[in-house]
């Protein structure tokens, strides 16, 4: 079964749900998608190196087998959930302490 594919999509959906639940509305900002494009550009380098070398090898049983250069497409969905979760929680916790704001 394509467990990695399923897990990556589920994680991305969970993160999108969390953004609604916490009312952080990060995914609705155009700034987020610009930021994601910047992250992906660097990701191509780092993730590309890790998978080209390969420092990390993926089991073909668990992912679709579609790759961008050497990077499995699932890594981009996985990356989205990791990156988006970081920003959503950061925005959430930052406003929890209004004292620290200017």
């Amino acid at each position: 079964m394509k467990e990695y594919t399923i897990a990556a999509v589920a994680a991305a959906l969970l993160v999108a749900f969390l953004d609604r639940k916490l009312r952080t509305r990060v995914l609705r900002q155009s700034a987020f998608w610009i930021f994601l494009a910047v992250m992906y550009a660097f990701k191509l380098l780092a993730n590309g190196y890790l998978t080209w070398r390969p420092i990390v090898t993926y089991n073909s049983e668990f992912f679709l087998g579609v790759r961008v250069f050497t990077i499995p497409v699932e890594d981009f969905i996985y990356g989205f959930s990791l990156i988006a979760l970081s920003v959503i929680l950061w925005e959430y916790f930052k406003v929890q302490k209004p004292r620290a704001r200017r």
Binding site: E3, V38, I55, L82, S86, V87, W90, K94
Partner: protein, 103 residues
């Protein structure tokens, strides 16, 4: 080289780490938020990674990691999430800063 994965992490984090002290970003104006975010991001991704590594979704080449492992994962892989959540926050604040300045 066994240090390669660690070098990749250093390359990812070194720029953001050096530039993160820039006052305009106000990254360290919220130390608790920063620590909480990194901690809470790491927890589920560590669990996912430990399970996926155990189920052999992926494996790490012995030739490119330093050696020490915890729950089957190289220390580099544990650090990966600390690095990535920090770099994400830094890049997010930088993106917003540059977009604000453009207007």
């Amino acid at each position: 080289m066994r240090i390669e994965y660690m070098l990749v992490l250093v390359c990812i984090v070194i720029g953001p780490l050096l530039l993160s002290r820039d006052k305009k970003l106000k990254l360290y104006a919220h130390p608790t938020a920063l620590a909480k975010t990194i901690g809470i991001v790491c927890a589920p991704f560590w669990v996912w990674d430990v399970v996926a590594t155990a189920r052999q979704h992926w494996w790490f080449n012995e030739s490119y990691v330093l050696g020490p492992r915890l729950l089957g994962m190289p220390i580099e892989e544990w650090l990966f999430f600390v690095v990535l959540s920090f770099v994400s926050i830094f890049t997010w604040e930088s993106t917003k800063y540059f977009l604000r300045r453009q207007r």
